[in-house]
């Protein structure tokens, strides 16, 4: 096929560093300007991100409590020893991966479908786009409350499924069934987040030059071929961006769990971040909660490094 090898996105002209000889003075000036411009951001980062991270790391090796008259003591790796023998922690790791492995491709795929749908020039596109985006602008706390109502055994979701199947569907107690609770939360999370991903896809689609499609049509390429050989390669950079952002968001799953299931039933929805917060605040075990956070950082860092490695190979 003629168009296969084409790189459809006009890559942004990233010109190589200029070879013109520059004086040492100019370079010093450049470095000085850079230092001035980056200092406010770095100072804020150090104050409000690095310091707390270092504190969290340090706390992880102590028995610090949220409420206590006793000063924290250094206890070495005790928190980690306890953590790694805790079946609930391993359940939370499994659930976190389960959530990410399902939600990342589903949300990205559905979003792409939506983007293609609202990218077609059909009347009312603005309306559809707005409706698909509605959940994004609604607060996650509010959204979780609404869905908790709807997931009840005698709630709207079961009612709707019964209507569509002419009562052949047996109502499921979604959030109370260890097998269904996590899928229910996945569905709701995708519902809330997919509009945002759609917009990013849409942007990617809009940058693919129309001439490519026209040329393909002249070659007699069908919808699938056009998608496979023009759209998909054209979305390469968008794909990486979406993969990284959804993965990070998926690993941080917390609010939905906190509002809807508190990790239950039988630990089927507990996640690493939920465990960290539960231990750190509710059970007042600041040190132990910090240890969970630390493990979480290592986990996500590993995943993103692997991801970066994989996408780099493909790209």
């Amino acid at each position: 096929m003629a168009i296969t090898q084409q790189s459809p996105t006009p890559s942004p002209s990233l010109s190589p560093p200029t070879a013109s000889p520059r004086s040492a003075r100019a370079r010093r000036g450049e470095a000085g300007a850079a230092a001035l411009m980056i200092t406010p951001a770095l100072a804020l980062f150090v104050l409000f991100l690095i310091v707390p991270i270092v504190l969290a790391f340090a706390l992880a090796f102590t028995n610090a409590r949220l409420i206590s008259p006793r000063p924290p003591e250094f206890i070495g790796l005790d928190n980690f020893a306890l953590l790694f023998t805790d079946p609930v922690f391993w359940a939370s790791v499994r659930n976190t991966f389960y959530f990410a492995v399902v939600v990342v491709p589903v949300q990205a795929g559905l979003a792409l479908l939506l983007a293609v749908l609202v990218n077609a020039k059909v009347r009312g596109t603005r309306f559809f786009r707005t409706v698909y985006f509605l959940p994004v602008v609604t607060s996650m706390v509010v959204v979780s409350l609404l869905w908790r109502f709807m997931y009840q055994q005698d709630g709207l979701i079961n009612k709707a499924l019964q209507s569509v199947t002419f009562d052949r569907f047996t109502p499921v107690d979604w959030l109370n069934d260890p097998a269904w609770a996590m899928p229910a939360i996945m569905l709701m999370s995708v519902w809330q987040g997919v509009g945002f991903t759609m917009i990013i896809w849409l942007a990617g689609l809009q940058t693919i030059p129309g001439e490519l499609y026209e040329a393909a049509e002249l070659d007699g390429a069908g919808t699938w071929h056009q998608f496979r050989y023009i759209t998909w390669p054209g979305l390469l950079q968008t794909r990486t961006f979406i993969l990284v952002t959804i993965t990070i968001a998926a690993f941080s799953l917390f609010t939905q769990i906190n509002v809807m299931t508190q990790g239950g039933p039988l630990d089927s929805t507990t996640t690493v971040v939920y465990q960290a917060v539960r231990s750190g605040y509710q059970q007042l075990q600041t040190g132990y909660g910090s240890a969970i956070s630390l493990v979480f950082f290592v986990l996500v860092l590993t995943v993103s490094l692997v991801q970066r490695h994989l996408t780099r190979e493909r790209g």
Partner: protein, 296 residues
């Protein structure tokens, strides 16, 4: 530039329209449920829960829940606080992050690769895991208190606007978006400006920023959503009612006898401004968010 196919356009557009409409139902129904419930008395919300009536404004419909909301919480004050907090966070965030991104993307200096890598690594830290150490830390920070015209020193940032704003100004995601965008602007522009004797600040200000409208809008939007919906942090750091943002207001309705109608009314009230904003600025919303994806 629609993706055409072998099928006839009419048949295809029918499929598209049907699919889009089904999806509208999927995306809109919880929101409709919220709006409709906000018009009903508590008992009726629960009576209607298992039937299609949940989506219909039928029965004892009134604005009583809304009146109740305004009686119970200082709604205007909460909205004002959230507007102020998100507004200042956005303004300062754009300035600080774009300057840093400019230094990373357009200027050459030793160690910038390392700094960029570190900034990106912080993307993976969810706020929930840092809230406690951060709380402890902001308690140690000095702050100045205006007493008439003299400034008094006090320790701790609790119960202020600044504690809701300043920790959220520097943002790796925003910085990354600016960085990507700046990197895509041809370097020849800088060089030309240099020839004309412009300094780096002037280039940032007169060359790069004016070209970065979409990136600025994207960062503004991405900063706005979490700032407006922020909940855990203000819960921990704000004590005075006059400093509370909108999401804390939701808590006022959860009592021994929770008034679910008022919860729904309040939720609708705090969602509507954001939706209205989206409707009004849909074009720039889309275009701006769009740009962040492609330039990546």
């Amino acid at each position: 530039m629609s993706v055409t196919s072998i099928a006839t356009p009419t048949k295809r557009s029918v499929v598209v329209t049907v699919l889009r409409s089904v999806l509208v139902v999927f995306f809109a129904f919880p929101i409709v449920f919220m709006l409709v419930s906000s018009l009903k008395p508590d008992l009726q919300i629960f009576a209607d829960l298992g039937s299609w009536r949940a989506f219909l404004p039928v029965g004892d419909v009134s604005f009583a829940n809304y009146t109740g909301v305004f009686d119970r919480v200082p709604f205007a004050r909460f909205i004002l606080n959230s507007v102020l907090i998100s507004g200042v966070t956005i303004a300062l965030g754009i300035l600080v992050n774009s300057m840093a991104a400019f230094a990373l993307a357009r200027l050459r200096w030793r160690g910038r690769g390392l700094v960029l890598g570190l900034v990106l690594a912080t993307l993976i830290v969810p706020f929930e895991t840092l809230a406690l150490p951060l709380l402890w830390w902001v308690n140690k920070l000095p702050s100045f208190e205006a007493d008439g015209f003299s400034l008094a020193f006090k320790q701790g940032w609790l119960d202020t606007y600044q504690v809701q704003i300043i920790p959220f100004i520097a943002n790796a995601f925003s910085m990354y978006l600016f960085y990507q965008y700046f990197a895509s602007i041809p370097r020849e522009l800088d060089e030309a400006a240099r020839m004309d004797g412009a300094g780096w600040f002037a280039i940032y200000r007169t060359v790069i920023m004016p070209l970065s409208g979409p990136a600025i809008a994207t960062v503004a939007i991405l900063t706005f959503l979490p700032a407006w919906n922020s909940y855990l942090w203000p819960l921990m750091v704000v004590q005075s009612e006059e400093l509370r943002p909108v999401m804390i207001g939701l808590q006022y309705f959860f009592q021994l006898n929770t008034s679910w109608g008022q919860v729904m009314a309040y939720s609708s009230l705090i969602t509507i401004p954001v939706v209205a904003l989206f409707l009004a600025f849909q074009r720039s919303f889309i275009n701006s968010i769009a740009s962040s994806g492609v330039k990546g």
